[in-house]
Amino acid sequence: MSMKDTKLWTWHMAAGVIILVLLGAHMLTMHLNGVLPIESLNPAGDDPLDWANVVARGREVSQVFGYIFLVGFGLFHGLYGLRNILFELNPAAGLKRLISVVLLLLGLGLFVYGAWSAVAARTMALSVSG
């Protein structure tokens, strides 16, 4: 029994919705702070890139998980979409498998790098005094 395409497509759609939420949160925090200030994430004022704000956000566990999820769902959504576009070119079955494997490895590699970056940012923020 296989419903591979049904599962992948469902997750593709779900990832789109999740990205909308997470990217919305990112936009609120990083670009709309002047309009809708979030005190806990930007305690040092309007500028999200103020070092004190960067450190304050970096210490939040929710930020770490938020960015790990955003990286994961964003990569899946984007790379699955790219795979669909490449499949539109009607490659041979062997090439289809190769495309799938390459994109999977690329996605996993970028996810590990992105997740490590999120964790490293928190470690760095916790090590900063004040």
């Binding site: 419903m3 591979k4 395409d5 049904t6 599962k7 992948l8 669909n84 539109e88 009607n90």
Partner: protein, 282 residues
Amino acid sequence: MSNNGAKEFVFRVRRFDPIKDDSPHYEDFKVPVQPGWTILEGLWYIKENLDSSLSWRSSCRMGVCGSCGMLVNGSPTLACNTQIRDVATDVLMLAPLPNFDIIRDLVPDLAPMFDKHTHLQPYIQRDDHEEMLEPTDQYWQSPEQLEQFLQFSYCIKCGCCMAACPTFASDATFSGPMPLAAGYRYLIDSRDDAFKKRKNLLGSGGVGPWRCHYAGECSAVCPKGVDPARAIQFMKRELVLDYLRLSKAGKRKPAELLPAEKRHGRRDEIPEAPPFTVEGAS
């Protein structure tokens, strides 16, 4: 325009004879079109008066059989269902349906479409084989249940949707709008008991609806208003809901025979059929 109302149009017809020709070419025919003529009638005029070797496929002449699908001025449509004066200026371009091999002139090879149609099992499947073979009564279905698939059952398999589909144009392994709309029609039919089998078939490989990116051309050209693009999106929704364990269709039990309290027999207001006009008929 002549006295009898005829107006001359040029029929620019794509010709291909696999025995003589290496590739298709266009030929012009001047046709004196009478008011009300369909494209099919114009083609008959050419065959009877100008070139008897011109080939196309047609049968019912009333938009029911789906035989005469062809490309008219770049758009797939039925030749019998299209008035010449509605679509032509002076020149009418005619070609066989694209996305299919050409057998000859305006005759496409529709066999791959019917193979895909058959592969999606377009028929009711149930366990009660004896009742299916020797029916004792009708399976009960509510008007609402009928309404779910009725529109998609109007398909006449003309192939216009397949000719308009950009995905099928680039990927011959894609099932295409006609087979998928037929597949959805049975997926959702409350009398059917093969949802699990169908979802596994549709859920993997290029067979299912997933390659459709909703260009919508299939619905735009459908001469019967079937709207295959809608069926394909509904099919996606049903399969996703089933994956999320939310599908009602996936959990349903197949319709049972009409319950006794709903058997009313023949209604009084429906007249009897007229007597046979041929002696000995039964």
